[in-house]
């Protein structure tokens, strides 16, 4: 295939302990480290490996968001992507609009495969890939841990609740990846320098006819309910006594 499209979302870094703003209007993101959504990083790694095996000729990374998302796209280019597209908007944008925006890029670029993370670690929605596949009228293989390409189709191993499911999909298709698909490479300094020269195209969201106003209103953000402070026991006997007390053994 010619092209693989990979979605990269800018999110609060995996290691940051997110706090809700005291007025309930959102979560604290000021001065917080931002990164590529870890699942998307795995998606990009897989696309790069497919290209390195000679099964694709170009890897394009796409992000939707503010100009700051350029940082994550540059990181993607440093990892090895060939070019980047930023669909630019300063508004918050919901999953369906994201899928519609990606569809516009898919129609323009005609990729053989679109690879996304199975979910973003900010909203934890797990929706965009499925929605994109539906709008595109193409197969989806979600929560993938392995993909084997064979010309016109792909055999995909999916992590499901009862084990592993293997499906076969015609290409082009949308793949969303799970944690165990691969371990993303580290970016090397010379690659960061090289990435600065790779093309990064900016497309305003309005130019592709997507209305960003979200249909779902997020009206209140709260911290989760805390669990009561527990007790400590000294040994196995103490633990069993405490469990017996609660009628659990």
């Amino acid at each position: 295939m010619d092209k693989i499209l990979v979605g990269l979302k800018r999110v609060v870094d995996y290691n940051v302990r997110v706090r809700v703003k005291t007025d309930g209007s959102g979560v604290e993101t000021d001065g917080v480290k931002m990164s590529i959504n870890p699942f998307d990083e795995i998606a990009l790694e897989e696309a790069l490996r497919i290209k390195e095996r000679g099964a694709a000729t170009e890897v394009i990374v796409v992000s939707i968001g503010s100009a700051e998302s350029q940082q994550q796209l540059r990181t993607g280019l440093a990892m090895g992507a060939d070019r980047a597209i930023l669909i630019q908007t300063d508004d918050s944008i919901d999953a369906l609009s994201r899928a519609r925006a990606l569809l516009e890029i898919a129609n323009r670029e005609d990729p053989g495969l679109i690879i996304l993370g199975k979910q973003a670690i900010d909203d934890d929605n797990n929706q965009t890939g499925q929605m994109l596949a539906a709008l595109w009228g193409r197969p989806q293989a979600t929560s993938a841990s392995k993909v084997e390409l064979d010309g016109t189709h792909a055999r995909v191993t999916r992590e499901v609740d009862i084990g592993l499911e293997i499906i076969d999909v015609d290409l082009p298709a949308v793949l969303t990846v799970d944690l165990r698909m691969n371990e993303p490479r580290y970016v090397k300094l010379p690659d960061i320098m090289k990435a600065k020269k790779k093309p990064l195209e900016e497309v305003p969201l309005a130019d592709i006819g997507i209305d960003p106003s979200p249909s779902l209103k997020e009206t209140l953000f709260e911290p989760p309910a805390e669990r009561q402070k527990g007790v400590m026991v000294d040994d196995a006997q103490g633990l069993l006594a405490a469990l017996k007390d609660k009628g659990l053994v």
């Binding site: 992590e159 026991v233 633990l239």
Partner: protein, 312 residues
């Protein structure tokens, strides 16, 4: 009035326990009238189980050889064809529902509310974000159909004993053939199902090998418990992926959860927060798992777990 269509999860012969939990969520919507649809090759036994669930008004069956296995791209257009007249379409937030429901939502041209944990109004729900570090209240427009998945750990299954009407329905839509089921590799186990077990024993990276993980299995068997694992233990290859508990694995709510050699990263804790009693055994007294544990024991698991096994 709200009319809710629930998508039954099943394996072709048995209804998955998640469906009774989705009913429990749906019936909290004011004045909800609940129909369950079973898409299957042959639906009779699953439909009979669904019809027994309390609060279900009707069970619709859509029988088609193409529905032998759950392929989202095949099921979604059939659900869309049935959507007319419903105000809500709900499914479980299991790997089945996560795969299917957004495809349904997109075909209907609406957004989806994922992982509903509480019903605040007919179109207002709470859901967890940031691995459970925050809870957001989401309001959907009342003038369009609402698609949602339900976080099953937040709900107790409804009782049985009902006898809802079962109706076969025809759905005339063209189904795609671009996706083919090949096989399911499911771990065979006589142990209780992790998602629904009353007791769960989980092991983490500190087990240090697949062989050592036998300690967890033995303790679980003594307790009649299901077995879980942290992401680290799965990544290290000690146990298969279906045992992973946490944000990207299974979200569970057993009466008793025993975490052994698990540090308690937020991504793991988010999967067990609704457990009745959480027990933590870890030799690092600073491990974050102790922040959520009801009973904590700072000790070497290789000493304590054999003692527990002997004493039980």
């Amino acid at each position: 009035m709200s009319k809710v269509l629930l998508i039954a999860e099943h394996d072709g012969s048995t209804l998955n326990a998640s469906t009774a939990k989705v009913v429990a969520c749906a019936r909290q919507i004011d004045g909800a009238e609940i129909d369950v649809v079973v898409l299957a090759e042959s639906a009779a036994s699953v439909a009979a189980e669904a019809a027994a669930l309390e609060s279900v008004k009707r069970v619709l069956t859509v029988e088609n050889a193409a529905n032998k296995t759950a392929i989202a791209a095949v099921l979604a257009p059939q659900i869309v064809a049935l959507a007319d007249g419903y105000s809500h379409i709900f499914g479980p937030s299991t790997t089945f529902g996560k795969d299917l429901m957004p495809r349904v939502a997109a075909l209907l041209g609406v957004n989806q509310i994922s992982d509903v944990m509480s019903v605040e109004g007919t179109h207002v729900f709470k859901r967890p974000i940031y691995a459970g570090n925050a809870v957001v209240t989401v309001e959907a427009p009342a003038d369009s159909i609402l698609v949602a998945t339900v976080r099953t750990a937040s709900y107790q299954a409804v009782d049985g004993g009902n006898s809802a009407v079962v109706e076969s329905v025809d759905v005339n839509v063209e189904l795609p053939t671009h996706t083919r089921f090949i096989e399911l590799q499911a771990g065979s186990s006589d142990r209780p199902d992790l998602q629904t077990a009353a007791k769960v024993v989980s092991g983490g990276r500190a087990l240090a090998s697949a062989e050592n993980f036998d300690l967890i299995l033995t303790l679980a068997d003594k307790l009649g418990a299901a077995v879980g694992a942290s992401r680290a233990a799965v990544d290290a290859g000690y146990v298969p992926n279906e045992m992973q508990v946490g944000q990207t694995g299974k979200i569970i709510a057993p009466d008793l959860y025993i975490a052994i050699g698990i540090s308690g990263a937020i991504q793991h804790v988010t999967g067990i927060k609704d457990a009745g009693t959480i027990v933590a055994i870890n030799k690092d007294e600073e491990a974050p798992i102790f922040e959520v544990a009801d009973i904590g024991l700072v000790a070497d698991l290789f000493k304590v777990v054999p003692e527990l096994i002997d004493a039980l």
